[in-house]
Subunit: 214 residues, 2 copies
Amino acid sequence: MRLAELSARSGVSTATIKYYLREGLLPPGRQVNTTTADYDEEHLRRLRLVRAMIHVGRLPVATVREVLGHIDDDSLGRTIRLGAALWALPQAAEPDEEDEYVRAARTEVDRLLAALGWTNAQALTTISPSYRSLVLAVAAFRRLGYGWGAELLAPYAQLMHRAAVLDLDFMETHPSETEQVETAVLETILNEPVLQALHRLAQEEESARRYGFE
Amino acid sequence: MRLAELSARSGVSTATIKYYLREGLLPPGRQVNTTTADYDEEHLRRLRLVRAMIHVGRLPVATVREVLGHIDDDSLGRTIRLGAALWALPQAAEPDEEDEYVRAARTEVDRLLAALGWTNAQALTTISPSYRSLVLAVAAFRRLGYGWGAELLAPYAQLMHRAAVLDLDFMETHPSETEQVETAVLETILNEPVLQALHRLAQEEESARRYGFE
DNA sequence: TCTCCTTGGGAAGTGTCACTATCCAAGCAC
DNA sequence: GTGCTTGGATAGTGACACTTCCCAAGGAGA
């Protein structure tokens, strides 16, 4: 398959594909001669993955490159590779420990983990990007005067844990190891917009049930 | 309070505050004389809200302006105002109805709503931005070869409905009408990063429970 | 063979976005 | 009255995701 056909089948312009090749998001095609390169189905699949990560998951190009690097790293075991790929995802800033809201938020998040008995998550608080993101998000609430604490967070956390169980159950139905890692990353990235849309839709549904349309 | 003090108390540079004033995200201060304007606590609160929407909720400046306009519109009733504010939020593109994946995704989403008995949401499919976002997100999955259908989505939808019930219960604990609308918008915008972080943290916890750390 | 179109590749340019730096004249403080 | 600060306006910045332009080399039809 030539560049033009790859472009036609993916709906991505040749200029953009060339850009992705330059950025290392797509491996180069097999060079037939000076003016012809050959691409296969794997290129098409990878290209679609890249587009989904960028446009649905809103990941920056540099992050996509990093995540793909981990997915492709055959030297690591599945769990490590998956962890590395997932931990490359977030683009949250470092929490500022001087900030009183951040410190209060951290206390509440720690209380939450203790109350839930998430001992594994507790062990990861110093390094997990998700933990840091959570602290930052809770701090943003507190800065606006809402006293979001462990008690209010706990029911949400339990719901999201059930979502995580669904995620991993689904992941385990996939056979190959590479595919499992790729699926897990995809799940995490693409599932979030789905959950967000479902959340907003559910809010509309519940709001209409309570208050009608007017 | 002068600009410099507003800047100091909010941690936002005077240059950025001036930018927000120009963009209409902050109402102008009370002009004392040619070189002095006076800002109050409400300005500080609004500024923090704007920062949270932009940096935590990742909303574009133009969207923030639109959402604030709806929050401040006293001519409308609560439900309408809330709906208007929430519907101004998404920045999802229009689904391309020519696309086979989009059409298949729409079918699955419609089946999902029917199976769940979300009749209110069903009534809104032609106009709701959340519905369109959901279709697009499901289409992205299907394009990558994952057959995400109503059966897989339903348990997630039920979880998110329970989250929506929590959201609205919490909203009802707030007294004033303006505050309720503002709280509801804030909930929607700021709660999403919290839920996302909880989701990833839950995935880490569950993954460690199943497979250990290695 | 001679055109003429297409190909892959690289450099430079584009549009958007959220700021940020600079400038200015008018106060105010000592 | 001198020097710093203030609010306001204009222009510039840097990051980002492309996109346009140009080129030399193939290949295809007359």
